[in-house]
Amino acid sequence: MSTTKTVANRAIKARAKGTPDRIQKDIINANAIVDKKIVKNSIHHVAETEELSVADLPQGDISVPMNLWLDHKAELKKRGGIVAVQIAADEFPEDFSEEYAEISSIVLPMVSHVDGRSYSHAYKLRTRFNYDKEIRAIGDVKYDQLGFLTRSGCNAFELPEGENIETALKAFTEMSDVYQPSTDGGALIFSRRRAIH
């Protein structure tokens, strides 16, 4: 990325890590939706805390904050199972462009469903960095967010406890047409109309 980008990002970034832009507690869900199907979930999402170290990580499949990945990549790669990496809402995908070849799946933790930054992260990951592995939204992600998150590039979701995950599958078929391109193959409406002239 250009240097102007980095400079501007630093100027604007309002909060340091560990503030409410990041998940505060580990997230462990029994089920997930992957490619529009309900599956058993095995990934333990580790929250970003000041004390977090590789030695403290739980056994099994995990997702870890990007900072931990950057600092301990070699150790993490030696683990068996899934090691997914989180990109928080206040981080920028372009800052980690050299990592994606080595990251087997990306997790976008959403602290609040009204915060739309992760949508742009997913979009950039798919279109600019051609990331073709799993992108999973977790946290405050419910039925009514699934449609647009899918359009923006997420293909996996974990809903908070208490949400009806079967009902939420309907979100994928609610809207049967679109006006604009995103990552889902939707075309700009004007190019579709143009094609018949």
Partner: protein, 552 residues
């Protein structure tokens, strides 16, 4: 006007069913009120003091007779028999029941209307010049561009959860009637030396708590790039706009914090990734869209109708209406007619179901079945033959829609205020009435001439008080309603924010204070100066001295 094709119909129909599902999940206890709130807002549904309020989108203010009748029917069937036209060229219904709203939206979808993104932190209705297509100073018809942006921005998956609301306006004329410098993005048409059509792009303008005049981010954006450039601005804003404080979340705060040059660099860097990609528009796209806004089938009338002069001579009420409420048209023999929704004693912008039906019929008979909503909360019949003016005037007058006060002190913009709005600090409608009552002598109004009086019931500035020639802001002082006045605001080409007059004024003195300001103006004006021009010449002091004379 634009007609839906199968894609538009599918999207709007799916959207109605989606909202029906959300409401029924809520009523069944499966979707909490907190989680429903942002979803209903994105379908135009607010919770106000007494009831829900539904804001229906009127893209760039253009509405057909058929649609106007449907709005009248909604007000009759689901509301209390009236609607409120807004400064965003939309309409609001103040009393719908939540459970009825999916049916209302379905009824509206039958006439190609919706309430998508009329509220919430997303891209709102695209607004424009209410004289589009008929103004004598028009360079390019802005409506095709508005419609293109409307479609691109509708249910855009990435920009549905912005830091704050986002408003885009387009003007295609020399005189800016769309207040583009007070929008998050303002597009002002420019034809360059090579005869290419493009836009000067303003960013970061807005009113609200922190009024800011938009800054130029791009002097000339070729028209084929409008969508990609808007997308680049929106993406930078979505990622960088503040989300920790809703009062600092608009793009104007971001632009001011970064500075326009750094903000521009960021947008250009973002844009460079996809500027020649699939969002690029082609000439055929504009031609196809322009075909929805053809020049109407005007009669070939060489010049005006001689009888108009006679009607004006023989009926002073007609003359007053003609002089104040009608405007020169680009087509010989035609006039633009403004319908005043500022009748004395009625909340500014309100129209009853019967009035809406009547307007639909008048438009059908005389004006190609189209009506425009202005951001000054009036309506426009854009294409009236001069020979029909007397009949049109009679028909409007019979419905109390011909108050000859367009552009006068009585033609004020006013938010719903404390009477309806849960945000308001003070009432607006009762102050509007007070001012109406004080200035009930039309000859005096005409002598005073053009005064844009704009009033908001709180600092959120829905009544655009910052850009009123006279602005009034309601404030709460220890539980009492007080009003702060400004002078010298201007939403047009020479955009300016009003200057504070002084300390807040008690509610019962607002009318007198306006009277004082206008007395000073009448005393010191020269030639055909408007109040705004006089203020620009002499500053705030003479007005301040008079209004606060009793205090000293």
């Amino acid at each position: 006007m634009y007609k839906y094709d199968a894609v538009d119909k599918t999207i709007v129909a799916d959207r109605v069913e989606q909202f029906r599902g959300q409401v029924s999940r809520h009523l069944a206890g499966e979707l909490s009120a907190t989680d429903l709130a942002p979803l209903r807002l994105r379908n135009g549904l607010y919770m106000q003091i007494h009831a829900h309020m539904l804001r229906v989108s009127i893209p760039y203010g253009l509405v057909s007779s058929e649609q106007m009748r449907a709005l009248a029917q909604v007000s009759r069937q689901y509301d209390k028999g009236y609607g409120h036209f807004t400064t965003r060229q939309n309409i609001q219904f103040n009393w719908p029941e939540l459970a009825d709203v999916p049916d209302i939206l379905q009824d509206l979808s039958n006439v190609e209307m919706h309430a998508i993104q009329t509220s919430g932190n997303c891209i709102r209705n695209i607004s424009s010049d209410h004289y589009a297509g008929v103004a004598t100073d028009e360079i390019i018809d802005p409506r095709p561009y508005c419609e293109i942006i409307r479609q691109w921005s509708t249910l855009h998956p990435e920009f549905y959860w912005l830091p704050r609301k986002f408003k885009i306006a387009v003007t295609g004329a020399t005189e800016d009637r769309a207040a583009v410098k007070f929008h998050d993005i303002g597009l002002e048409v420019v034809v360059n030396d090579a005869k290419q059509v493009g836009f000067r792009v303003y960013v970061g303008g807005g009113l609200g708590r922190t009024p800011v005049i938009g800054k130029v981010i791009k002097e000339f954006l070729p028209r084929e790039d409008i969508l990609s450039y808007c997308e680049a601005i929106l993406r930078v804003y979505n990622l960088h706009g503040r989300r920790d404080n809703k009062y600092k979340a608009r793009i104007k705060i971001l632009v001011n914090a970064m500075g326009i040059d750094d903000f521009r660099d960021e947008v250009e860097a973002e844009w460079s990734h996809f500027k020649d990609g699939e969002l690029k528009l082609h000439d055929i796209d504009f031609e196809t869209m322009q075909a929805f806004f053809p020049k109407p089938a005007y009669d070939n009338l060489n010049s005006g109708d001689d009888r108009v002069a006679k009607w004006r001579d023989l009926d002073s009420r007609f003359k007053a209406w003609y002089d104040n409420n009608t405007v020169e048209h680009i087509q010989p023999g035609y006039r633009i007619v403004n319908i005043s929704l500022k009748e004395h004693g009625v909340a500014p912008g309100d129209a009853t179901d019967a009035q809406m039906d009547a307007i639909a019929s008048i438009a059908e008979q005389y004006s190609f079945a189209e009506i425009r909503v202005t951001h000054e909360q009036n309506l426009v019949l854009a294409d009236i033959r001069e020979q029909d003016l007397l009949e049109v005037w009679k028909a409007l007058d019979a419905e109390r829609l011909a108050t000859p006060n367009i552009g006068s002190v009585n033609d004020m913009i006013c938010c719903p205020g404390l009477d309806f709005c849960s945000l308001a600090n003070a009432s607006s409608i009762s102050v509007a009435k007070q001012i109406n009552e004080k200035f009930n002598d039309f000859d005096e109004l005409y002598d005073i001439g053009e005064v844009k009086l704009k009033m908001s019931g709180c600092m959120n500035a829905c009544g655009h008080h910052h850009v009123g020639h006279i602005g009034i802001l309601g404030v709460d002082k220890k539980g009492e309603e007080w009003y702060q006045l400004t002078v010298g605001g201007d939403a047009t080409n020479n955009a300016a924010l009003g200057t504070h007059l002084g300390k807040a004024i008690a509610k019962d003195r607002v009318g007198d204070a306006i009277g004082d300001i206008l007395d000073v103006y009448k005393d010191i004006r020269t030639g055909d100066e408007r109040l705004l021009d006089t203020f620009r010449r002499v500053g705030i002091d003479p007005f301040k001295e008079k209004v606060y004379a009793e205090d000293s």
